[in-house]
C-alpha cells in the first residue's frame, strides 16, 4: 500500500546512551586517577567535558529506558488515558533519543579523546586543546538545544491535531489531559531518580575520601571539606535532575493550551489548507 511516510519515527530506540554514560564517568575517573598520581593540575576543563558526556549519555540512556517503560505499560493497561500516556512516553522518548544521537556521537568522541589524553599526560592540557574542547562543548550544547526544540515543536504540532480530533469525536478533555500529565509525571520521576544517582556518581571524584583530597578541598583546615564535597555531589545531581525535568514540564505546559483549543475547529483542518474551507 505504498511507502512509509515518516521513517525516522519507525527506527527502534537503542541503548546507545549507556555507552556514553560509561565514557563520561570514565573521563571523571581518569581525571581523578591522574590527579592522585601527580598531586596537582587543573581539572575543571576536563571535568566540564566529563559532565557534558555524562549528561548526553544520560539523556540517551533515559530516552531508551522511558521508551521501554512506555512499551511495557502500553501492552498491559486497560484504560484509554493510560494507553495514550504509554504511547506518548514510548514514541516521544524514541524521537528525542534519535534527535540527540548525532550530538552524542560527537560528545562521545571528544570525551574519549580527552580521557585518553588525560591518562597519557596528566590533567594538564595545552591551551589549544582546551579551546577546541570549549568550542566542541558550545557546539554540542547549541546542537542539543536545537534538536530538542525541533523535536518538541514537531511533537506539539502532531499532538494538536490528534488531540483536537479526539475531542471532536466526543471524548472529554479531562482524560486527554490526564494522559499528557501521566506520561510527563512518569518521565519526571524516572529522570529525577536516575539523574540524582548519576549526578552523585559523576561528582564522586570531587568527594574527599580519607587522605585522598582533591585540590579544591585539600588545603581545607576547617575539617569541613568532606561535607563540602558531598554538598557539591548533591548539588550536581540536583542540577542534572532539574535540567530535564524542567524541559519535560515546559513541554507539558505547552500542550495545555492545545487542549484548551481542542474545540477550535481550525486545528482539525488540513495543515496544507490553513484557510477556511
Amino acid at each position: 500500500m505504498g511507502a512509509i511516510t515518516d521513517q525516522s519515527w519507525s527506527l527502534r530506540g537503542r541503548p546507545w546512551g549507556l555507552g556514553l554514560l560509561v565514557a563520561g564517568v570514565a573521563v571523571e575517573l581518569a581525571t581523578l586517577a591522574s590527579w592522585r598520581a601527580t598531586g596537582n593540575g587543573s581539572i575543571i576543563p576536563v571535568q566540564i567535558v566529563g559532565y557534558l558526556v555524562t549528561l548526553t549519555g544520560w539523556i540517551g540512556w533515559i530516552s531508551w529506558l522511558l521508551e521501554r517503560t512506555g512499551k511495557l505499560i502500553r501492552g498491559r493497561r486497560r484504560r484509554a488515558a493510560a494507553l495514550m500516556a504509554a504511547g506518548r512516553l514510548e514514541a516521544h522518548s524514541r524521537q528525542l533519543g534519535q534527535a540527540l544521537a548525532p550530538i552524542a556521537i560527537m560528545a562521545m568522541l571528544t570525551g574519549t579523546g580527552t580521557a585518553l589524553r588525560v591518562l597519557s599526560a596528566g590533567a594538564y592540557l595545552p591551551r589549544g586543546v582546551l579551546a577546541l574542547l570549549a568550542s566542541a562543548a558550545i557546539v554540542a550544547i547549541i546542537g542539543t538545544l536545537a534538536a530538542l526544540l525541533h523535536t518538541t515543536s514537531r511533537i506539539l504540532r502532531v499532538s494538536q491535531g490528534s488531540l483536537a480530533a479526539l475531542h471532536a469525536l466526543g471524548n472529554p478533555v479531562k482524560p486527554l489531559a490526564h494522559a499528557i500529565l501521566a506520561s510527563n509525571a512518569l518521565a519526571t520521576v524516572v529522570l529525577a531518580t536516575t539523574g540524582g544517582m548519576i549526578g552523585v556518581l559523576a561528582a564522586l571524584p570531587l568527594i574527599p575520601i580519607g587522605s585522598l583530597r582533591p585540590a579544591p578541598f585539600a588545603a581545607d583546615a576547617s575539617g569541613l571539606a568532606p561535607a563540602r564535597g558531598v554538598l557539591f555531589g548533591v548539588a550536581t545531581s540536583f542540577a542534572f535532575a532539574v535540567i530535564l525535568t524542567t524541559a519535560v514540564t515546559a513541554a507539558s505546559l505547552l500542550l495545555m493550551p492545545t487542549l484548551r483549543r481542542a474545540a477550535d475547529s481550525a486545528v482539525l483542518r488540513a495543515p496544507r489548507n490553513p484557510g477556511f474551507e
Binding site: M1, G2, A3, I4, T5, D6, W9, S10, R77, R78, R79, A80, L83, M84, G87, R88, E90, A91, H92, V158, S159, G161, S162, A164, A165, L166, H167, A168, L169, G170, N171, P172, P175, A263, S265, L268, R269, A270, P271, R272, N273, G275, F276, E277
Partner: protein, 233 residues
Amino acid sequence: MARSSADNSILWARGLTKAFGQVPVLRNLTVGIYDGEATAITGARGGGKSTLLHCLAGILRPDSGEVWFNSRPLHTLPDKARARLRQQWFGLVFPEGQLVAELTAAENVALPLLFPGRDRSGAFSEAKAWLERLDALDCAELRADQLTRDQTQRVAIARALVTSPRVIFADNLSEGLCGREVDSILRLLLAIIRSLGTTLLLTTCDPRVTAYTDRELILRNGQMTSTGNQAWL
C-alpha cells in the same frame, strides 16, 4: 434515496450564521440532511464547507441560527452535552485522518470504545473487525505515523464507524488520494453505511466523490443551493 419532506431530516439547520472575526462564512443558511442518505457539500475552496460541517456536527457553535439532530437542539446544548452527543451518535473523519501518531492503527480505532470504559479485549477485537472490513487489517499493528495516506483514511473511517454512529461526517476525505484509492475507499464506505442505514455527510471539491453520493448541496457565498432533490429547500 431522495426524500421529499423535511420530516425525514435527521439533521437540519435553519438561519445559520457564522463569521470568523469580520469575515462572514455562513449567511443565514438553511439545510436538511436526510436519514440514511449520502450527501455531499461542495463549493469553492475557502467557501465555508468545513465550517458548515463542524457546525452541523456540534464542534462549532454558530453565531446565530438553529442546528437540530433528531429533535435535539445542538445550538443550545452546553459543551459537555454536545461532546457526549458526538461520542454517542456521530462519527468524524478529518482531512489528514488526525490519528494519534503515537498509537497503532488498532489502538486508534479502539480508543473511542476505551474512553467510555469498554473492556480492552472487546474494544480491540471490534477495532480489528472494522479494520478488516475496511481492508486495513494488515496495518493494524503499524503506528499511525507509519501509515500511507490511503491506510490513514481507512483507519480514520474505522475509528468513526466503531461506535456505530447514526451520522458520519467526513471532511475532505479524498484529499491527497489518487483516483483508484478514492474509488476503493468510497465504494467500501458507501457499502457499509448502506448496510447499516447510517447517514453520510461529506465535504469535497472532487467531482469523483460527489458521483458516489445521493445528493449534492452547493455552498456559494455562505448560502446553500442544491442539485438533485431540491424539494426540501
